[in-house]
């Protein structure tokens, strides 16, 4: 999506008092996702307070913070997955390539903004059918092209070599790490512009985690990635940008090396150094 034209770092827009110090202004083309004054409620209870944040295109953005800080809720506003919860409500501006998300057809939005969940959730179908599901939903006819797309997606998720000989076996026969990569392949099959990952490695062992992190690096050339994680090392390893959430507020948002080496807010530093959370 015109990413090669702007190889320079797509930095978040300045947010002087909301999230610490100002960072260089966005380059032409604007951020992939821009969030302005987002307030989020479950019924009468406010979960997110005045969030302002920009997600740079084809970069990895990590969201960290203690449990219950609202980072997963925030992630679920980016593809409007919160709408499955009755009486959940988002207010503010959510822009995808400058287009207002809240006004979009929700199915169309989710085709552009894919999601991978904390617990891998393969459908009780074959491996092939899991990956083909999104394609079928989007009107692909079965046939050679569908099979090619499935293979391509499984390759992108670095799973092809492990499953190519039993594509028609149940997805539940795979290991936890493989299941999570299958879910990533499933999300990639519809070729989303943005991929949201909600603690994708929290149920995985270190080896499976390393594989997924490696995979994220290969994906960011073609896809904008937002990842929620509990694991600060993971955020530091994979993400160019990191946002720190606390009690429903975005405390600080900046390049990861700034956040982890030289945070400007005391709360961020306390969290990163393990003083709470």
């Amino acid at each position: 999506m015109g990413g090669s034209a702007t190889r320079t770092v797509m930095a978040p827009v300045p947010q002087p008092d909301k999230a610490g110090e100002a960072v260089p202004a966005t380059k032409p083309g604007g951020p992939k996702i821009a969030v302005r004054s987002l307030n989020f409620y479950y019924g009468p209870r406010q979960i997110l307070f005045d969030i302002n944040l920009s997600v740079a295109e084809k970069k990895i953005t990590a969201l960290i913070g203690p449990s219950g800080c609202g980072k997963s809720t925030f992630l679920r506003t980016l593809n409007r997955m919160y709408e499955t919860v009755p009486r959940a409500r988002a207010e503010g501006e959510l822009l995808l390539d400058g287009e207002e998300m809240l006004g979009m057809d929700v199915a169309a939005l989710r085709r552009r903004v894919g999601m991978v969940f904390q617990k891998s959730n393969p459908f009780p179908k074959s491996i092939f059918e899991n990956v083909a599901y999104g394609l079928r939903v989007n009107g692909h006819e079965p046939g050679k092209r569908l099979a090619d797309l499935v293979e391509h997606s499984l390759r992108r998720a670095a799973l092809w070599d492990e499953v190519k000989d039993h594509l028609h076996k149940s997805a539940h026969a795979l290991s936890g790490g493989q299941q999570q990569r299958l879910c990533i392949a499933r999300g990639l099959a519809v070729d989303p512009e943005v991929l949201l990952l909600d603690e994708p490695c929290s149920a995985l062992d270190p080896i499976a985690t390393a594989k997924i992190e490696e995979l994220l690096f290969t994906l960011k050339d073609s896809c904008t990635i937002v990842i929620v994680t509990h694991n600060m090392q993971q955020a530091a390893r994979v993400a160019e940008f990191t946002g720190f959430f606390l009690l429903g507020k975005l405390i600080e948002f900046n390049e990861s090396r700034v956040i982890f080496k030289n945070p400007s807010r005391k709360e961020t530093e306390d969290y990163i150094t393990g003083r709470f959370g």
């Binding site: 199915a107 969940f117 009780p124 074959s126 599901y133 939903v137 028609h168 149940s170 499933r186």
Partner: protein
């Protein structure tokens, strides 16, 4: 001190034994009934019994082929009435309902489930038999079908609810709309359970007699189509059992055995379907 220990041990053993005995009684009753039916009716089950019509009074032999086929016809009508309504209603309860209306539906379904079966018969008699001026398989099937609705509704709902929310979200996250997610992911994930529930509920109404007494009535000959009085196994058992003829009594036992065998087969079949865990999914 020792007495107290001994006492505790004795109570413990007695209670354990009691629970075991009660569990055993339950099992024993089924086997007693089965054994009794086989003992009394087993000899009379033969090819003629399964394939011939009843003989006129006074003649020995003959069979209940028309009742076996009649029961199948009634169950077919019942399934056509009860399964679609119950299934689709169950999908609504589990997937679409808000909070107030489904609660009312659920409560009503439980009440409907508790309506005595003979009342269902009167209902079908009033809405079908009276306007048509004759008994029919349609009327009997409707009575059984109405009994199916609440059972299928609740089992469908329960099995759908057991499908993890994460599967729904997974489908929605790929751009599926709600109905697509339900029809292509949620229902297939629960299908085995739902099918089992349907089979069990059919087996349950297959033995109902009261709703059929004045709806499908009975017929000593073949009934043609669904618009004539139709014989069924439960009503046949009832009629033969209260008759004065020794030969008919024996045939009633045999019919009871056939009916129980069919119900058991359906039950066991359902368990087998349910027990067969995630076999490799097909394309």
């Amino acid at each position: 001190m020792n007495y107290r220990l001994l006492w505790r041990k004795t109570v413990n053993n007695i209670m354990l034994a009691l629970t075991g005995v009660c569990a055993l009684v339950t099992v024993a009753i089924l086997f007693f009934i089965l054994g009794y039916l086989v003992w009394n009716g087993g000899r009379d089950i033969n090819w003629a019994f399964l394939t011939q019509l009843p003989k006129p009074v006074g003649e020995t032999g003959g069979g209940m082929a028309n009742a076996i086929v009649g029961s199948a016809k009634l169950l077919l009508v019942a399934a056509l009435v009860g399964i679609p309504v119950g299934f689709i209603g169950g999908v609504y309860l589990s997937e679409f309902g808000g909070s107030a209306f489904p609660a009312v539906v659920r409560y009503t379904a439980d009440l409907l489930n508790g309506v005595p079966s003979i009342v269902m018969g009167i209902f079908a008699y009033t809405v079908v038999v009276l306007p048509m001026h004759h008994f029919s398989a349609l009327a009997g099937g409707l009575a059984l079908g109405v009994m199916l609705i609440p059972i299928v509704l609740r089992t469908t709902e329960e099995f759908l609810r057991a499908v993890p929310q994460s599967l729904r979200e997974g489908a929605l996250a790929l751009g599926a709309n709600k109905w697509r997610a339900i029809s292509s992911v949620v229902i297939p994930a629960a299908f085995r359970g739902i099918a089992t529930g349907m089979l069990l509920s059919l087996a349950r109404v297959a033995g109902e007699t009261a709703p059929l007494l004045f709806t499908s009535f009975g017929n000593r000959f073949w009934s043609h189509g669904f618009n004539e009085a139709t014989s069924s196994l439960p009503v046949m058992i009832y009629t033969y059992a209260i008759s004065a003829y020794e030969d008919w009594h024996r045939q009633a036992w045999a019919a009871g055995l056939v009916l129980l065998a069919l119900v058991l087969v359906a039950n066991i079949g359902a368990r087998v379907i349910l027990a067969r865990r995630q076999s490799p999914a097909r394309g």
